[in-house]
């Protein structure tokens, strides 16, 4: 039921190349620097949304911990940016709280490569340990969502409590340069935007290959009937842990791209609303379609930004009503609804539908 648009591959590839061309060469010329920066941020959100779609849309596990993985990635890279900005001195906030020496765990973050690797590996490790324990105990459905949400809240509290080590509620804010280039320069902003587009493209292609592979179909099988997967000789714990780790890694990677574009990372990014917003992007776009995740993230955030500037007092009411409307009227999301529409117009060539029963009569006289 939920699968990729089964258009011919050629059309799909053409669409992909056209979008890439538009994002890479047309929009940077047409849009203002401010708008490009905004779009760049939305595209990092799209990367996170793809990760959530893998585990929610395809595997059927609603994770409310994606904001945690996203923020862990952002914190890792934010620490590097903070150190680079501080140069040979300590980060500014440490001086304010009387820290005289750089804490040991900050040391390796002088290396951008280490920071990027940690931004991906750390969320994966957290997801791996948490996922393995949850899935092994056969905890499913809403309980999985609650546990991931709780972990996010716990980490947020932990970060808020560590005022001296990572600047508590304020978060890490002192970031002015990246690889020696000033973050405020329009050139740097364009470069970050281009990097985001490329990473998004690669993540999209990678995930598309994954869900079209046998492993991807197994994810759908887990969503349909996990118990049957187990009695088919697979260990669902392994499958679910792997895909959960993958989605966490993708979120972490998105965090790396986000933090230089917004110049701040604080525990605010880990609040309950943040995780739920990611769910909304995917729901609006259409879960179980990778394209839907991207479209949802960009659409919802564009809407949020436009409405909040024009109607600062009531924008949350308007957004909320829109979400409720979409979920009630188009439960399959934008992409899912469009696909249904296309299927009504033209019968999908890859799917045959059964004629009604070929049996002579459904109710046969049983000779007992």
């Amino acid at each position: 039921m939920i699968r990729q648009l089964s258009k011919p591959n050629a059309l799909h590839n053409f669409g992909f190349i056209a979008c890439a061309f538009l994002l890479l060469f047309v929009l940077p010329v047409v849009l203002s620097d401010f708008q490009i920066n905004l779009l760049g941020r939305f595209l990092t959100y799209a990367i996170v949304a793809i990760g959530l779609d893998l585990i929610w849309g395809y595997t059927g596990m609603l994770s409310l911990g994606q904001a945690l993985f996203f923020s862990l990635g952002a914190y890792c890279f934010g620490m590097y940016l903070n150190l680079e900005t501080a140069g040979t001195r300590l980060p500014e906030f440490m001086g304010l709280y009387g820290v005289m020496e750089l804490p040991f765990f900050w040391q390796p973050f002088y290396s951008p490569i280490f920071a990027i690797i940690m931004a991906i590996v750390l969320p994966m490790v957290v997801a791996g340990v948490l996922g393995f324990m949850i899935f092994r105990s056969r905890i499913q459905g809403v309980y999985f969502s609650i546990i991931t949400q709780a972990l996010t809240a716990i980490v947020a509290l932990l970060l808020i409590g560590q005022q001296r080590l990572i600047n508590g509620t304020n978060g890490i804010t002192e970031m002015r340069t990246i690889f020696g280039a000033r973050l405020a320069d329009p050139g740097t902003k364009i470069a970050l935007y281009i990097a985001t587009v490329i990473v998004l493209g690669l993540v999209y292609l990678g995930c598309r290959a994954l869900i079209r592979s046998r492993f991807g179909r197994l994810l759908v099988a887990v969503r349909d009937d996990e118990n049957r997967v187990r009695f088919m000789g697979y260990n669902p714990v392994v499958i679910k842990t792997l895909v959960f780790m993958l989605s966490a890694g993708i979120a972490g990677l998105a965090g790396v791209l986000l933090v230089p574009q917004i110049g701040i990372i604080s525990p605010k990014q880990l609040d309950i609303v943040a995780s739920i917003e990611i769910v909304i992007w995917v729901a609006v776009g259409g879960r179980g379609t990778l394209l839907g995740a991207i479209i949802g993230a960009v659409l919802v955030n564009t809407g949020k930004s436009t409405i909040s500037t024009n109607y600062p007092e009531i924008w949350q009411l308007i957004m909320g009503s829109l979400f409720i409307g979409v979920v009630l009227l188009f439960p399959k999301g934008v992409v899912g609804s469009l696909r249904d529409l296309f299927q009504k117009i033209k019968v999908n060539p890859r799917r045959e539908y059964l004629p009604l029963s070929a049996e002579p009569s459904a109710i046969e006289v049983e000779t007992a």
């Binding site: 492993f215 099988a221 349909d224 049957r228 088919m232 260990n235 539908y353 059964l354 029963s357």
Partner: protein, 250 residues
């Protein structure tokens, strides 16, 4: 004495103090097609649960293939050792096509990170062969969710077949089928029984009479009788259990 593919020894299972299986001994030989019947609540499904390690017994043990301790094995590992099970309700993956269902089943020994690759030629042949004998050839690209009830059951049997299990456990494979579908299922059973052991739990006595050779009757968690179908049918105890007291004419 013939060798046994599975041996249930002194197994007791109780739920809330009620003994579902009571010190039960039961076994199936290599290559045997066995039918298991019994009134509701006799413990038939629980026996299957015990043999697939879905339920752990309070007492007793189950040995598969001479050396595997079923009660200690994880469910999915047991499947890899060669125990296939079909559940009572058709459980197939409705979002996947018929072909994809079989494809998922055949990869059950593949390591997850190797699932990115396609199937081997041998595996493809096996799937084609299974599509043929389950009559699903022209429905290969149909979503499994829109198959008819009978076709779903055949697909599930097909998913067992591609895994080439040593022992197949089928829980009411013909429930809700038309006569024609039932006949086809019976033929399918004989076809696949040629080189493996099969245990069929069934309520439908017409079906049992038609296709069974050896029948085991379970009642109140104990073996009531076991033997050729004619003998079991004329057993006074079985008649009483099935038809109640005072109903001697079958």
């Amino acid at each position: 004495m013939t060798k046994k593919i599975v041996e249930v020894k002194g197994v007791t299972v109780s739920f809330d103090g009620f003994k579902v299986l009571d010190d039960l001994d039961f076994s199936i030989n290599y290559g045997e097609l066995r039918f298991l019947i019994g009134p509701n609540g006799a413990g038939k499904s629980t026996l299957l649960d015990i043999m697939t390690s879905k339920t752990r017994p309070d007492k007793g043990k189950v040995i598969f293939d001479g050396h595997i301790n079923v009660t200690r094995a994880a469910e999915h590992r047991l499947v890899r050792h060669g125990v296939g099970r079909k559940f009572q309700t058709p459980s197939i993956f409705s979002s996947l096509t018929v072909y994809e269902n079989l494809e998922a089943a055949i990869g059950f020994k593949t390591r997850p990170y190797k699932l990115g690759k396609g199937l081997s030629g041998e595996q493809k042949d096996k799937i084609e062969e299974t599509l043929e004998i389950t009559n699903l050839k022209e429905h290969r690209h149909t979503s499994a969710g829109i198959l008819s009830h009978g076709q779903k059951q055949w697909l599930e049997i097909g998913m067992l077949l591609v895994q080439e299990p040593k022992l197949v456990l089928l829980d009411e494979p013909v429930a809700g089928m038309t006569r024609r579908e039932r006949d086809h299922t019976g033929e399918l059973l004989h076809k696949i029984a040629q080189n493996r052991s099969i245990l069929v739990v069934e309520h439908d006595m017409v079906f049992v009479r038609q296709f069974a050779s050896t029948v085991t009757v379970l009642h109140m968690g104990k073996l009531l009788c076991e033997g050729p179908v004619e003998q079991v049918q004329s057993d006074p105890q079985v008649i009483e259990v099935y038809l109640g007291r005072g109903h001697k004419a079958a």
